[in-house]
Amino acid sequence: MKEIVIISGKGGTGKTSIIAAFASLAKNKVLCDADVDAADLHLIVDPEIKEHHDFESGHTAIINQDKCSQCSLCRDLCRWDAISDDFVVDSIECEGCGVCYYFCPEQAIDFPLNTCGEWYLSETRFGPMAHARLGIAEENSGKLVVLIRQEGKKLAEERHMDLLLTDGPPGIGCPVIASLGGATAVLIVAEPTVSGRHDMERVAELAAFFKIPAMVCINKFDLNPDQGEAIEAFAKQRNIKVMGRIPFDPAFTQAMVQGKTIVEFDGNSEGCKAVKNIWETLVQRLEL
């Protein structure tokens, strides 16, 4: 089975619109939304949820005031300053390290498992989908990304499908690292701006750090062709395959507003033609 993960470094470059278009074009695939922190793919592919699960991960300390002797050992040991003067744990600051729980001489601290999100197995008009929702202000996004990709792979195996199309998160931190391990290749969606170029270079370095083959395409290329060409030159230097250029096309937003992929919305639009070319290059290159 092969897995293509779409990442970008910078947010808002068009990852989700492009993967939605691929969903229209690819056959025999499972969709996976690994941007668990601000998942958007469902707004286009409109999944019908078949299975619903809680995501439990990490712990938070809770001090039982009746047992607490206010010895202050927990406050001395806590490196997150998460325990107030009157011995109440700030659940946002609590790292879940359990040091206070372990050392409390009165055993006054509970350390329950957190439910910090949900994950779903669904059907869409493009095939099966694994997706998730991390609770607001929650941690452990990396673990949820790993879980949802595993569930996507399981779905693909059960259905005898050989491709997983994964929408990755922005950035280069924990959830992005979690979305890279074991991927066949990453497709970086870059934007031709100084920010887009800077962020593309950092996420390309991240893919190289984890030895995942990378490809790049540039969205809204005509916004600043100089920056676009600079990104392509950087890519060639680093052995990153340049997959194509997508012009600025309002059809992407119009399609999104209607809950459609650009392929469904207007197959003849310039944006759609460019994405189709990139998809065909991808199919050949990865022998999909």
Binding site: S8, I136, V176, T193, T253
Partner: protein
């Protein structure tokens, strides 16, 4: 006062708002770029950097001469970052959250701390504007500890403007907590609205007053405005789609310098925030 500029969805214009707001106000302002995974504000501010600091987080180092292989370090560690296997203790530094539990629990005092590099912090200025940002090391997973280090540069005598990362999880919370006001930048699209709702949820958990900047406001999708009215989130600025703004941004230039008529609007934005945040 601390203003944190956040968004939920990426690419809506946080950095444009942060940099243009700061430059419009001139002096007595500092920018803290807390989007340490992909910091961009420096590309527009182009500060003169005066100070570069490597930021480490403590991780355990075991002295095998002293270790009696009791395994208590592995028991206390919630993150599987230290484990006794046979006659060896393996410390996985990249998994360590730096809680210090293993050091505290070790009966032989065999564990000391060494550092894992989180990234760097650079400090500089442009005219009267103070500039600080963090840059996460490529391959480092944990951004909140570096964000907290950047926030230690907050000065109480001047205005602090924070550029927060996208999303709503721990790095965003680390960039918003303790702020006096959160300015949310969104775009009027279904993705923008969906992620804005999550961001408003996060701001409410923290109990901070917030307001909205709608970027590319004339895209013809009015659900964001309706949502803002319903939730009583004030719309403080609307920036219509203008190819000149997009091109200015693409080049790394400042909108207020290329289109000076915007300066007054950003100054007004600050006054509106001041009124709400007190």
């Amino acid at each position: 006062m601390i203003i944190s500029v956040a968004s939920g969805k990426g690419g809506t214009g946080k950095t444009t708002v942060v940099t243009n707001l700061a430059v419009s106000l001139g002096s007595d302002v500092q920018i803290l770029d807390c989007d340490v995974e992909e910091p961009n504000a420096h590309l527009f501010i182009r500060p003169t950097i005066e100070e570069v600091k490597t930021i480490n987080t403590p991780v355990p180092e075991v002295d095998m001469e002293k270790c009696n292989l009791c395994g208590k370090c592995g028991e206390i560690c919630q993150f599987k970052a230290i484990v006794v296997i046979g006659d060896m203790v393996l410390a996985f530094h990249e998994l360590c959250h730096s809680c210090g539990g293993c050091i505290e629990v070790c009966p032989e005092k065999a564990i000391t701390e060494t550092g894992r590099e989180l990234g760097i912090i650079e400090k500089g200025h442009r005219n009267g504007l103070e500039f600080i940002h963090g840059k996460l090391r490529i391959g480092e997973a944990m951004s909140p500890p570096l964000i907290k280090k950047v926030r230690e540069y907050t000065r109480s005598d001047i205005l602090t403007i924070i550029d927060a990362p996208p999303g709503t999880s721990c790095p965003v919370i680390a960039s918003m907590k303790g702020a006096d006001f959160v300015l949310l930048v969104t775009e009027p699209t279904p993705f923008g609205l969906h992620d804005l709702k999550l961001a408003v949820g996060a701001v409410k958990i923290l109990g901070i007053p917030c307001g909205l900047v709608i970027n590319r406001s004339d895209m013809g999708y009015d659900q964001v405005t309706k949502y803002a009215k319903k939730e009583d989130v004030p719309i403080l600025m609307e920036i219509p789609f203008d190819r000149r703004i997009a091109e200015t941004y693409a080049r790394g230039d400042m909108v207020v310098e290329v289109m000076p008529e915007w300066k007054e609007k950003f100054v007004q934005l600050y006054h509106d925030i001041e009124k709400i945040a007190g």
